[in-house]
């Protein structure tokens, strides 16, 4: 058991959560991070889907890593990822149909999410299945964390709700508070991610 959670494996899991965050530091997987975050619920669903797909595609590629010919590895990786995404997209349609409609093409676009290809190339091709699995989970959760932060800010200020529940009390509206329509616009997610990166960098510099 201690071997399963050695320091190296722990690092593979925790690094992407903060110091080496896929969105804020490595700038991977931005497209979907921006587009699905106008509310908290789709952001959470998207984050979890990416975590699951990254973890399992990492495991599969890691198991196959010695048999894949180097020249055609990208196509092999794409096919594995595409198959997993197809499964997840069918599951989402079956169990959370309304969210899957909201996510529209962005579920399919997980295939081209750079986090997946980046992790497969950089980690799973060189490491055994268990560290690859942890690495996949870590990166997926690091991505989900940014999605949740952006989704939280946008839903709170844009709609005055969180996960669909009103959190801003009525007397605030009576006193003249209004929801900020700008937050609902796609452009604001870019600016919020920019600010998240700013805060993240400033904070990590202080630590060092």
């Amino acid at each position: 058991m201690s071997k399963l959670f050695s320091d190296e494996n722990k690092a593979a899991f925790t690094n992407p959560l903060n110091l080496n965050n896929p969105v804020a530091v490595q700038v991977l997987g931005i497209c979907s991070a921006l587009a699905v975050t106008s509310q908290l619920k789709p952001a959470i669903v998207m984050g979890l889907s990416v975590t699951v797909i990254t973890a399992f595609s990492n495991v599969i590629i890691s198991l196959l890593r010695k048999t894949i010919p180097n020249r055609i590895r990208i196509i092999v990786q794409l096919v594995v990822v595409a198959a997993l995404v197809t499964i997840v997209s069918q599951l989402l349609k079956a169990y959370v149909y309304d969210v899957s409609v909201q996510l529209s093409v962005y579920v399919g676009l997980i295939i081209t999410n750079c986090i997946l290809m980046g992790r497969l190339e950089a980690f799973a091709m060189q490491n055994s299945p268990w560290p690859s699995f942890l690495d996949g989970i870590g990166n997926g959760l690091g991505y989900a964390a940014i999605l949740v932060i952006v989704g939280f800010v946008r839903e709170l200020f844009g709609f005055g709700t969180l996960l669909g529940f009103n959190v801003i009390p009525q007397f605030m509206y009576d006193a003249g508070y209004t929801n900020n329509g700008m937050m609902v616009m796609p452009a604001m997610s870019l600016i919020i991610v920019g600010c998240v990166i700013w805060a993240h960098r400033a904070y990590n510099k202080e630590e060092k």
Binding site: V27, L28, G29, I30, C31, S32, L34, A35, I74, I75, L78, V79, A82, A83, V85, T86, S89, Q90, S104, V105, G108, L109, I111, T112, N113, C114, M117, M185, P186, A187, M188, S189, L190, I191, V193, G194, C195, I197, W198, A199, R201, A202, K205
Partner: protein, 208 residues
């Protein structure tokens, strides 16, 4: 014909790949440091789009759609795997052409040329096309034939090209400005793109 022109103009300005859907962000942020390289990548993306969208349109209508091959069979769930295969093959072709005719461009694009295969803009255009085929013919976004598919692909590509060249020009100028330290590089680029997206929103009421 009118519909094709309207589709073309709409996909450049209103449904811009970058500013409305955030597709292809990874290479958009990474390759936009100078105008010349940005222009090269923009042309390559436009070309790949111009080929893949009509091919995927043919696949969608004659193979995947409901009742396309055999009555009562709907193969739409296979779309992800087939589309990504077409795209990966096409990118391989473009890579060979660019290497043969413009070695300098090939060198400056580097890893981002094969990465067009996982550029969300390419896959996204095919997935949006799949959505639009099922729309009402009166809808301004409807795609109902090869002409429409080509107009949509060309418009999306030019929209992407416009966006990346615009950002590259701004970033070239921004190299001389005094930006807060943690915001430098990525952070300020995000905020710039956000402001550009806000500017592009003025086209959203455009009706042709």
């Amino acid at each position: 014909m009118e519909h094709m022109i309207s589709l073309f103009v709409r996909s450049i300005f209103v449904d811009n790949m970058i500013f409305a859907f955030f597709l292809g962000m990874c290479s958009y942020l990474a390759v936009s440091k100078n105008v010349k390289t940005a222009l090269g990548l923009g042309v390559a993306v436009t070309f790949v789009l111009l080929v893949t969208v009509p091919v995927d349109y043919a696949l969608q209508t004659y193979v995947l759609g409901p009742d396309a091959i055999v009555a009562g069979v709907d193969l739409t769930f296979l779309a992800f795997i087939l589309f990504i295969a077409v795209i990966a093959g096409m990118v391989q072709l473009v890579e060979m052409i660019v290497e043969r005719f413009s070695p300098s461009l090939y060198a400056s694009l580097g890893i981002f040329l094969p990465l067009i295969a996982v550029n969300c803009a390419i896959m996204g255009a095919s997935l949006f096309m799949q959505q639009r085929v099922t729309m009402e013919p009166t809808n301004a976004q409807f795609i109902g034939g090869f002409g429409d598919a080509i107009a949509y692909a060309l418009g999306s590509g030019i929209g992407w090209l416009l966006a990346i060249v615009g950002l590259a020009a701004i970033r070239e100028k921004m190299a001389y400005t005094d930006v807060p330290k943690p915001l430098q590089g990525l952070g300020i680029t995000f905020i710039t793109v956000g402001l550009m997206a806000l500017a592009f929103m003025c086209f959203s009421g455009l009706n042709i």
